[in-house]
Amino acid sequence: MPSLGTSFGRGGATDYQQDLMNSDCITIMGSNMAENHPVGFQWVLEARERGAEVVHIDPRFTRTSAMSTKYIGIRAGSDIAFLGGVVNYILENDRWFHEYVRTYTNARVIIDDAYVDTEEADGLFSGWDPEQGKYDATTWQYKGMQVHGSGGSPEEGVKGEQSHGSHGGLLSHGDPPEEDWDLEHPRCVFQILKRHYARYTPEFVAETCGCTVEEFLWYADTICKNSGRERTGAFAYAVGWTQHTTGVQLIRSAAIIQLLLGNMGRPGGGIMALRGHASIQGSTDIPTLYNILPGYLVMPHTEHYGGLQKYIERSTAPAGWWGNADAYIVSLLKAWWGPAATKENEFCFSWLPRIDDDNSHYWTVQQMLKGKVKGYIVAGENPAVGSANGRAQRLGLAQLDWLVVRDLVEIETASFWYDSPEIESGELRTEQIPTEVFFMPASTHLEKDGSFTNTQRLLQWHFKAVEPKEDCRSELWFYYHLGKKIKEKLKESQDPKDWPVQHLTWEYGEQGGNEEPSASDVLREINGYDDHGQLLAAYKLLKADGSTSCGCWIYCGAYADGKNMAARKTPHWEQTYTALEWAWSWPANRRLLYNRASADPDGKAWSDRKELVWWDAEQKKWTGHDTPDFDEEKPPDYVPPDDAKGPDAIAGNHPFIMQADGLGWLYVPQGLEDGPLPTHYEPHESPFDNPLYSQRANPRRQQNKDLEEDPYNPVAGEGGSELFPYVVTTYRLTEHHTAGGMTRFTPYLSELQPQMFVEVHPDLARERGLEHGGWATIVTMRSAIEARVLVTDRMRPMKVNGAVRHQVGLPYHWGQRGLVTGGAANDLAHMALDPNVHIQEVKAFTCDIRPGRRPRGPKLAQFMDELRAEARAARATATRHEPEETRKT
């Protein structure tokens, strides 16, 4: 999560769920927490019952809104405008937490003279290259400092998720070179921020977002009132923020607010990222992601092809905990290649494959459509329903040579070749699809040992309860035996490309009749060993000389002293409220990140009410209710010597220890693709013009302009935009889970939400002749699906720029199969992406809605062809050009 990573240092939720009860004001935005995290929501209600304000800001009035003390309706995709308005309010009204901002953030840092803001360049930051469609971030840097990048193309820097948001400039010690502690220098971050958001007035917010000025002012005042020494406010968000072409910047907006109000690192404060899957945090920490290695180490890039030393130089920050990146990567290589990894051969670093800028999921789909990806293994995911543009997904699957689907039930991804909308419409014919399909029944979590990392970075072990039946096997079994068989096959090979597999360490104890590999053995390897074969206790002990091995440095300590810390189940009533003895969280079992900031610069709690971690002057150490997220013995007045490196270069009053300067970044000079500050852009598909700039949408968003399977609706200012006049937003319901593989095949859940439906406001129903309980067809350039109509005031029409506009709500759980079936909302979505994380924009795009059921069989294909032709013809009459396409800044 580069937004949190670049702002604070780590890409994880900064808080733990229970801590929400300590909050005085919880803003839930981009999340429907009550519906999608019901059990976590108990802590929000605890806070509400203690008198906290709970504000839900969302396009839809949901079960979360119903439980909040105040709901504010805004139009989908206008969140940055709203939050930017809050930033402006804080700055204009002097509501920021002076001491916190001055000491703990980079507000005082002076930025390069060449930096040009979007406010001066009509929606583009300096460094825009229209040919490449990218920014050169050089001018965004701290004044007087070089971009910290290397290899062939310094302009690339290290970016996004890869960077873990930790790479500051080349600082020689803890303080950035040029600062103005009075925050008055015109080019200091604080003043840049002021100018950047000056136009985000309450009136602008109301007109752009569709709320009222009064509501906005009430909210802005409320969160300011509930911040400061005595009080704290928290944010909770989920994919309602991430699934936008501006997703990362959206979260950044909250980071800026929380830093300005001094809410980071403090009880009841922070930003709670609510993840949607059992181990989505875990699958990022130990990534099944193309661009990173375990522990957010960078995957080597084809353009940065130096050896290990180059790689380390590029990954190592001169200050902060990323200063030890060499130890992390070498220990990982030792974990993977064991004795084969030696100092002489650079620990087999050259064996790592190289990536390009984007080899992400949606890129893969395009490669499938081009026939370049031939084999696909899908384990516990259902892209045919769960990914944007389902039709493109399924057409891609039909181009494969072979496909392996591992799941509990026969999901749409496994059955696309005989049961899909494309088979129905005749676009695909079973007997002409070459794909060889293996469906492999999977084990449930009850049938295997292992650990999930939950939304608060907590590793929790689950013990196997029963043996899997028949052919059901865990993923652990599948990949382990796959590896074993492959190693056996390649045993004799002399081909250098087979060396990495031949030497891969692959020794895990086998248990039971199924020869299930031991998950504990795997976790031990992840935790790491020293050269005596002893399990390591903490990542501090990792070395760069090859004497330690560790599969994921941030998980080092999860098996400290031979004990599975993730399996600790000490009841909460036997410990304090931070419950440090329940399971284990990274890093180092700290529950509330950056908690050094819960104390003032001198190390004393800001107030009794909000004490968490403080400096004990007598014992000369940091202590408190949580594990201090700071060097335990580093006093608050510590000033790093000039030659200090790594963690030692962080000052005693700089709480963000992963950052190269130890500060919270209001302004992000590097690590992001689309600018150092969040700016309001319209969604990729929007019926509105950008009220601020002629640059309509995020210029850096990823589009697939030439991909026939991913056509876009005409947008505001283009011919044919009236064909898709409504904003559609997709979401989950409490009763189902994501693409439905685990729920719409489950009787007790299927009966609770048995059918696909669409939510519309009564005015829209009237406008389009939709009848409550009847059918409607929702169409985009991608596809048309049908749904039952639920006419409800909970879908509010929005008054935007003076005109009333409607929004359409679509849950996305259904598909062709299961006990309950229905149109897949993702079939309507496009594959334009956020540039930092390659996430699709399914929370705001455009559509049309018509009464009645969709055309069936071949008529559907015909209907879509006609619609696309009509829209293309209309667009040809009036095409729109954005600054992004022509102007270099």
């Binding site: 509990l408 070749w417 029944p441 009850l446 976790l523 909460h572």
Partner: protein
């Protein structure tokens, strides 16, 4: 009648008598006389009700688990009897969930034993119109063959510019956010060693 038979008969008769007496005594109409004249309470309680126990009392063992749905991370207790799951409910010890579960977590057993759960490998040959059966071991061998074949066919030692690549772009892997850390670790480790870089999961989605 022989003596033994006779005494057995008498014993049997005695037993029968006692049983009848029991039956009469257990007749709720008579028990009503004993402090429950309206017949609303104890007098009408059946033997089954009187000796009722929660069925989890019969569990062979209880496994501590974690809910597999969203990322709140609720703790679960899994009661097992005769190798089958008999009940899944919240674990009160958890500081996060305090024993509570949402409808999805509460339906864990229903999902685990769902009517549409698959237990056998299914195989569709190229251009095939039907699923076919395939032994697990054979399926594994076939998948291994395909991975190695495709890797061989699509191997990129260098990029077009001549930079090292050491990878295959012909194979992709999707999934992970619903899996265990240990599983993700083996996926990333194995596929990276094979040069497969398109390893992705729901974090992207």
């Amino acid at each position: 009648m022989r003596k033994e038979d006779r005494s057995a008969f008498l014993r049997g008769r005695g037993k029968l008598k006692r049983e009848i007496a029991e039956l009469v005594k257990s007749w709720p109409v008579l028990r009503q006389l004993d402090g429950d004249p309206l017949g609303l309470g104890k007098s009408v309680q059946s033997n089954r009700s009187r000796t009722l126990e929660p069925r989890i009392a019969e569990a062979d063992h209880v496994a501590q688990s974690i809910c597999p749905f969203c990322a709140v991370g609720c703790a679960q207790l899994v009661y097992v009897k005769d190798g089958a799951v008999m009940q899944v409910e919240g674990d009160p010890a958890s500081p996060i969930s305090r024993g509570r579960l949402c409808p999805k977590g509460a339906a864990t057993k229903n999902m685990h034993d769902g009517p549409l759960r698959e237990y056998k490998v299914k195989y569709r040959r190229p251009y095939g119109t039907e699923w076919e059966e395939l032994p697990l071991e054979q399926a594994m061998d076939m998948i291994v063959d395909r991975i190695l074949r495709t890797r061989e066919e699509t191997w990129e030692e260098t990029t077009r510019e001549g930079n090292p690549a050491k990878r295959t772009m012909g194979i992709a892997n999707l999934g992970g956010a619903t899996l265990d850390n240990e599983e993700n670790y083996l996926i990333k480790k194995l596929l990276t060693s094979l040069g497969v870089v398109q390893v992705e999961n729901q974090a992207r989605i």
